[in-house]
């Protein structure tokens, strides 16, 4: 009777001495969270884009008439930022998966917050635009921009250090 084959070795390499114990679980949770946020965000903001195209197709007065330029601009910005930030969250998740230890709570929080604040601010500012002025929702935009900046810096530093 032949002996049973040796159990397959773990695909993971030997523990990284730079990564604190329990870090893998943190990274896995982060990957999961950002993949979900990114893909759901993409679904939402692509749907927003389709809705905006529909408004163009039917020449909806509230969207295409004179005097609605600010609304149109801000809704388009909301759609564009939402879509790209969704992709950015997916990219962050893949980065964390590729580079162990790249995840940090601050970067994760920043990128998730920016995914909501930036497009949300543009969309609300557009929906409640008054003449050439956006609605109060646009106040969320600078906060989202700062969060995005923080997230990008933190991830860049982490990735650089690991490289």
């Amino acid at each position: 009777m032949s002996s049973s084959p040796a159990p397959p070795t773990s695909p993971k390499a030997a523990p990284n001495p730079d990564v604190p114990p329990g870090r893998d679980a943190v990274d896995a949770a982060s990957v999961d969270r950002h993949l979900r946020a990114g893909w759901w965000g993409l679904a939402v903001f692509v749907a927003v884009g389709a809705a905006l195209e529909l408004l163009h197709a039917i020449k909806a007065p509230a969207y295409v008439d004179a005097g609605r330029e600010t609304t149109r601009l801000l809704l388009r910005l909301g759609h564009a930022h939402g879509t790209l930030l969704s992709l950015l969250n997916v990219a962050y998740a893949l980065t964390v998966r590729a580079r162990a230890g790249a995840a940090t709570p601050l970067a994760s929080a920043s990128l998730l917050a920016s995914l909501v604040l930036l497009p949300g601010g543009f969309l609300l500012g557009g929906i409640w635009a008054r003449g050439g002025d956006p609605g109060l929702g646009v106040l969320l935009v600078p906060a989202g921009a700062v969060a995005l900046f923080i997230g990008a810096i933190v991830v860049a530093r982490r990735v650089t250090r690991r490289a």
Binding site: S30, R33, A37, H56, A57, I58, K59, A60, P61, Y63, V64, D65, A66, G67, P105, L106, S108, A109, S110, L112, A113, L115, V116, L117, G120, G121, L124, I127, W128, R130, G131, D133, G135, L136, G137, L139, L140, P142, A143, G144, V146, A147
Partner: protein, 624 residues
């Protein structure tokens, strides 16, 4: 539809604030989960939230203006949707239309739409003071009570009222305040001259006899037919008030394209849009002026650029032309074109102004802005047919060219004429150097013999220069509006030599005195205004040379008609700016005599007195 009124000017709504908070909470929750309760990082996000909130305090909401009381209300005529509805599908046309002065003909008064300075500077008139000032997003005027002034009360008290509407933006801008009666609008007694950047009393901005009161003007009766789309005066005879309505203020898209509701509704369907494009045919839901028969396309412009009188006067006071004329219709059903013959006809329209102030004795209209009257009396319109019939669109384009003249770039220069009048004969027959002003078709066949807004305007009745006509009608001929230093006899001689025109007997004074000097001093007020304008034009300097304009204009500045004096002053400023090398060519004694110049280069007082004694002093009022 009255965009500025329709825009939501309210402050932040509860729904807006709730949505803002909801988004912030969602973002906070996501961040919280990611941070897993780390206090330092939570504090960082807290700081971020506080900074964002604090930035809200930096937002100073711009002052919002409510619609002025007395502004026209939305119209009731069916099918109008306003120009704003056109933008979605026709952004290029909308943009090219918005840069025209048609678009800005009438606007709700605001600091953005009022061209005049709103610093409250005192504007003195007859010992009274008028002021225009800004109050937040509103414009207010202090003026003698306009209704009392019109009633002839010299002691009318001052009133301070919000300026409701502006009229004009190209040459002049006038301002309207609420009158005493409901819905009535009255003019501020000063207008702003846009190019001159100056206030002038309204009575001096038009050609009116000295001391004569300006005819009382009410926006809802005098202006609404042309300065708004589908205007409805809705005059209340008992109260003498108005419930004025308009589909759109200013000359909007639907003035020329007709009511757009059916068009907009149909073309919300993308399939219908592409099917329409593929068909290549005319869209039955909208008027395309370029596809109209020549008479109908000209009627589009003629609805405003004509002297006309409503056929149903009582109906006009209620509905204006909103129910009797739409783009694409003929004018005749809704109005009678005013001509000298129509005024003399039994039962014809009765207007305030004498016919002599509106028409030259040969029937040519002498008031600018009424070009349709000239067009339809032109041989090129009367005798042309099909594509060879002269229409407004033969030269003009609403969506192309410079806003000032709206000349179609493809029809600029002589091209509008040479499509029919081509060939060598046409090229040679001007007897002026190629490319010179004198060689241009319009210089001879459309001279500036109409008057409006302190300027000479080209006649739109196409004709040829004639010394005989000048003698018979007093209307300056094209030759002498450039060759101001030449006599009418000189013109008659060249017209006879070049074109075989019969030479009329020229009175001695006209054979001796240059036409510019004669008409500038002895013509009627309308003629003097035209000459004062011509004296300041580079075309006349090129043809006449210099050396006499300043002396003549100095005399003309003292004209009893303020408008003539104003134009003379403006031309004098232009003349004094001519480079010295172009001024004062050597004049022969005969030429100096024709120009009534003394040896010192000044006008001969005796000749001036004689010409002033011979002046045509009949009262001329051109309130345009």
């Amino acid at each position: 539809m009255l965009d500025a009124i329709a825009i939501d000017r309210s402050a932040a709504s509860p729904a807006e604030l709730a949505a803002l908070v909801a988004v912030a909470v969602v973002a906070g929750a996501l961040a919280f989960r990611a941070l897993r309760g780390r206090r330092a990082l939570l504090a960082l996000f807290g700081v971020l939230a506080v900074v964002t909130s604090a930035s809200a305090s930096l937002l100073r909401p711009a002052p919002r203006a409510s619609a002025p009381a007395g502004a026209p209300k939305p119209g009731t005529a069916l099918g109008y949707v306003s120009s704003s509805a056109c933008l979605g599908c026709h952004p290029g046309e909308h943009a090219s239309f918005r840069r025209t002065f048609h678009h800005t003909m009438t606007r709700l008064a605001s600091p953005e739409t009022v061209s005049a300075p709103l610093d409250g500077r005192p504007l003195e008139l007859d010992g009274r003071v008028v002021r225009l000032e800004r109050r937040g997003a509103e414009v207010w005027a202090t003026l003698p009570d306009p209704d009392r002034v019109i009633a002839g009360d010299p002691a009318a008290g001052d009133v301070t009222r919000r300026v409701v509407l502006t009229t004009g933006s190209h040459r002049e801008q006038a301002y309207w305040v609420a009158g005493a009666r409901s819905g009535d609008l009255r003019l501020v007694p000063f207008v702003w001259l846009v190019k001159d950047a100056a206030f002038v009393p309204r009575r001096e901005a038009f050609l009116t006899p000295p001391g004569a009161p300006m005819p009382p003007v009410r926006w809802a009766s005098s202006c609404i037919a042309c300065h708004a789309v589908a205007g409805e005066p809705r005059h209340d005879l008992e109260r003498d008030g108005f419930d004025t309505r308009a589909a759109e203020l200013g000359v909007g898209c639907e003035a020329c394209h007709g009511p757009g509701a059916a068009h907009v509704e149909r073309h919300r369907d993308p399939v219908a849009r592409y099917a329409q494009r593929a068909s290549g045919g005319a869209d039955p839901t909208i008027v395309h002026p370029g596809r109209l028969p020549p008479e109908r396309s000209s009627a589009l412009c003629g609805q405003c650029h004509a002297y006309a009188f409503p056929r149903d006067e009582a109906g006009f006071w209620t509905d204006g032309y909103s129910r009797t004329f739409r783009a694409g219709d003929a004018l005749e059903a809704s109005r009678t074109l005013i001509t000298p013959a129509a005024l003399e006809a039994r039962g014809g329209p009765v207007i305030d102004a004498p016919a002599s102030a509106i028409f030259w004795p040969d029937g040519a209209v002498r008031v600018g802005g009424r070009e349709y009257n000239g067009l339809v009396a032109s041989p090129c319109h009367e005798r042309g047919g099909g594509d060879r019939k002269l229409t407004c669109l033969s030269c003009h384009a609403m969506h192309r060219g410079e806003p000032a003249g709206q000349i179609d770039p493809e029809r600029g220069g002589d091209r509008a004429c040479t499509t029919c009048h081509g060939g060598d004969r046409a090229a040679r027959h001007s007897h002026h150097a190629d490319g010179s002003v004198g060689s241009a078709c319009v210089s001879c066949h459309m001279p500036k013999t109409s008057y409006a807004l302190l300027s000479a305007v080209r006649s739109h009745r196409i004709d040829s220069p004639s010394a005989a006509s000048t003698l018979a009608t007093g209307r300056p001929n094209a030759c002498n509006l450039c060759h101001l230093d030449r006599t009418l006899a000189w013109t008659a001689r060249w017209l006879a030599e070049w074109y075989g025109a019969a030479t009329p007997p020229i009175p001695a004074e006209r054979a001796r005195t240059a036409a510019g000097v004669h008409d500038g001093l002895a013509g009627d007020a309308g003629v003097r205004a035209l000459v004062a304008d011509a004296l300041g034009s580079p075309a006349s300097w090129a043809a006449s040379g210099g050396g006499f304009q300043a002396a003549l204009l100095e005399e003309m500045r003292r004209d009893p008609y303020a408008a003539v004096g104003f134009i003379a002053s403006r031309s004098l400023r232009a003349v004094t700016a001519i480079p010295p090398e172009r001024v004062a060519p050597a004049r022969t004694p005969a030429e100096r005599d024709a120009l009534a110049l003394g040896p010192d280069g000044r006008l001969d007082p005796a000749r001036v007195r004689a010409l002033l004694a011979a002046r045509d002093v009949r009262a001329i009022t051109i309130a345009e």
